[in-house]
Amino acid sequence: MALTALDIYKKLPQTNCGKCGFPTCLAFAMQLANKKASIDACPDVSDEAKELLESSAAPPIKLVKVGSGDREIEMGDEVVMHRHEKTFYHPVAYALMVDDDSPDIESKVQAAGEMKFERVGQEMQLDMIAIRSKSDDPAKFSSAVSAVKGKTSVPLALVSQNPAVIEEGLKVCGSDRPLIHAATKDNFEKMAELAKANNCPLAVLEDSGLEELAELSKKVKEAGVEDIVLDLGKKPLGKLFQELTLIRRLAIKKLFRPLGYPIIMFAEGEGASEGLEAAIGTLKYASIVVMKEADRAIMYPLFTLRQNIYTDPQKPIQVKPGIYELNGPAEDSPVMITTNFSLTYFTVAGDIETSKVPSYLLVADSEGLSVMTAFAADKFTADTATELIESCGIADKVNHKKIIIPGQVARMSGKLNENSGWEVVVGPRDSSGLPKYLREYTSA
């Protein structure tokens, strides 16, 4: 929790001298708490107070970047426990792990790179490749990193606890800011040196407990590494889940700096089991989830989950306005209209698909509002519907001028007919009535 105005006031000189430009110290404190003023404006503040205020202004979870260029990943800088309190800002990154002794390392990375999905206008693909040194051989690791680097532009994680191995890997890709994984209590001095020398983020790994993990992250920070990622190590899922929650609370509610960093998690299990661990990490507080497999049937739903959870609750996902063709429509197929709130679109499109009736669905730009809300807010009106009908080119695709509108907005039918010249048919009030409605509509 950030400092309140009263907390800040207690640290100010309380002289009400007015040199900061505010009449009283309390007024100044309130501006500071709202981040509307800078502590530098006070000429008399103590160094101790200044340091406290400056550090409290830092985000509770440090923003850490990995990689460089277009595919750079930002993580951390989250401010809430639950997404409805504000939003989750930096989506979890999914990483595929490959081993340096694997003969098909290049084809695996190649296949991972070719896996691209598009959903609701967002492109989704694997965010990282983690290269694990199973061989513990610096030369072998180095050539594996080279091979991977030739096949991908996504950020890398170099996974080994042997500094000599990491050092060789960094010679190949150090300037790309890979994540070094990991510093432990035994090797952290050497790892911190490597991270500093290459300006790379460093993961700290400690599985014995949160206190020990915090100790280690402090030491690494004291050694001069700023960009830290936490790894809680391998432990029973229930324990890991509880610790993920505790770390988030310590960081956000207690501003406990040694654990105020993004978290990396290695999903256990295979197939759907591994996928569900990744889902848990997505929902509850991991910033990177590393997986051993990247099956499309698992990754596509997982990306969808991430898309859902990281949607800003204040800004609904929208689909692109325009014509959507469902079930392979022809010129005599029915034409329907709805709004571009993604949930509305998906529900309506799903119900039309269920009906198996070839159809055109026009999606109007309602700024992401559902039909009823948009209608009430004048974002979905006879005018906007007419504009869409005229601009989208539907008249060239069908041999009729009949449009089905949602039953909820039956009131716009007269005006829509007048404006557009299309015959307006009032459809069911709820989208779930569409399959039956459409079957009857087309057989009539």
Binding site: K235, P236, G238, Q242, G275, I298, P301, L305
Partner: protein, 320 residues
């Protein structure tokens, strides 16, 4: 200095609803399930009580619609026309902790099955399995009044859950549950205020709060899951913070997954359709549990298996 772990001290306690009555209690069930009872957020029993590992029930129908997705149908191909056998397979082969039957065939818009036919189905189901039962109507208010009254009587002494009570139709189902001391499932559509309103309507009508289970609607993954997730979290947080009227267990279903063709359609780009559908359903269910649901109703056996495994690992792996 020892690190002090930030434990939340919640003032609220979620009521516990037990369904199923054993022979010694006047029923014929061979097992019971307990829903709710928590004084902590899900799987965080170290700071309160999280006494019951969430049970996973399976959902069946009295009749199966023609357009029921092939992926969900396939594991039950041999039994799908016989609800008793279907339920038995769910319990004996796939470990369902409870069975929910949706009597969709009684809807006048569907097959309009008679109350007598429905009675036969429910009697067979009662004989076929020993787990606790949930009986849901078809959503036709008039018909449900008769079907659920019959169900309440057939299942007298068995301690079932009857559903779904909705804002526009809750009185006759309330009467049906109260007459034989069954529980009731109160449905609300993605809205914390409506969820609360339902509990108020039901208790005002005479249903005991301790007999209510809420279904706040779990939207499918990709189809509004984020709304459900936040509504469920908010309901649970409000209950733990002391809102008594929301201190009832939540039961969520994954049924919506099977309306979203994206989850199960043939499409090589998004992987094998069966694996995708199973993971889609499992993810939808697990999300509801992490948000605060106390129990799930699911369809595909493999999705059930995966969620059960995750629940076991989450529940058993931590300090509860």
């Amino acid at each position: 200095m020892a690190l002090e772990l930030p434990k939340e001290k919640w003032v609220g306690k979620i009521g516990q609803v037990v369904i199923g009555a054993l022979e010694s209690e006047g029923g014929t069930r061979t097992s019971k399930v307990a829903l709710g009872g928590a004084t902590s957020l899900p799987f965080l029993g170290f700071e309160g009580e999280y006494p019951n590992e969430p049970p996973i029930g399976m959902e069946i129908f009295d009749i199966v619609r023609e357009d029921y997705p092939e992926v969900a149908r396939k594991p039950f191909e041999d039994v799908i026309d016989d609800p008793g056998k279907w339920a038995k397979k769910c319990v004996e082969e796939y470990g369902a902790d409870m069975i929910c039957i949706r009597m969709i065939g009684t809807n006048p818009e569907e097959e309009n099955r008679s109350v007598e036919d429905a009675e036969q189905t429910i009697k067979e189901l009662k004989e076929a399995v020993g787990v606790p039962l949930l009986i849901y109507g078809s959503g036709d208010e008039e018909k449900d009044a008769k079907v659920l009254e019959m169900a309440s009587n057939v299942m007298a002494g068995e301690r079932c859950l009857l559903g779904l009570a909705e804002e526009a139709a809750y009185k006759s189902i309330s009467v049906a549950t109260m007459s034989n001391d069954h529980g009731i499932v109160a449905f609300s559509n993605l809205d914390i205020n409506l969820a609360k309103q339902m509990n108020i309507l039901l208790t005002d009508f005479g249903v005991k709060l301790g007999n209510i289970v809420m279904d706040p609607l779990q939207a499918g993954l990709g189809y509004g899951l984020e709304y459900s997730y936040s509504v469920i979290e908010r309901i649970r947080l409000a209950a733990l913070m002391g809102d008594k009227i929301l201190q009832v267990p939540m039961m969520c279903g994954t049924a919506r997954v099977w309306n979203a063709r994206e989850a199960f359609k043939e499409d090589a780009d998004t992987g094998d359709s069966t694996s995708r559908a199973i993971f889609w359903e499992a993810t939808t269910g697990l999300s509801a549990l992490l948000a605060g649901a106390d129990a799930l109703l699911m369809r595909h056996p493999d999705a059930v298996k995966h969620v059960k495994e995750s629940v076991k690992n989450l529940y058993g792996g931590g300090e509860q």
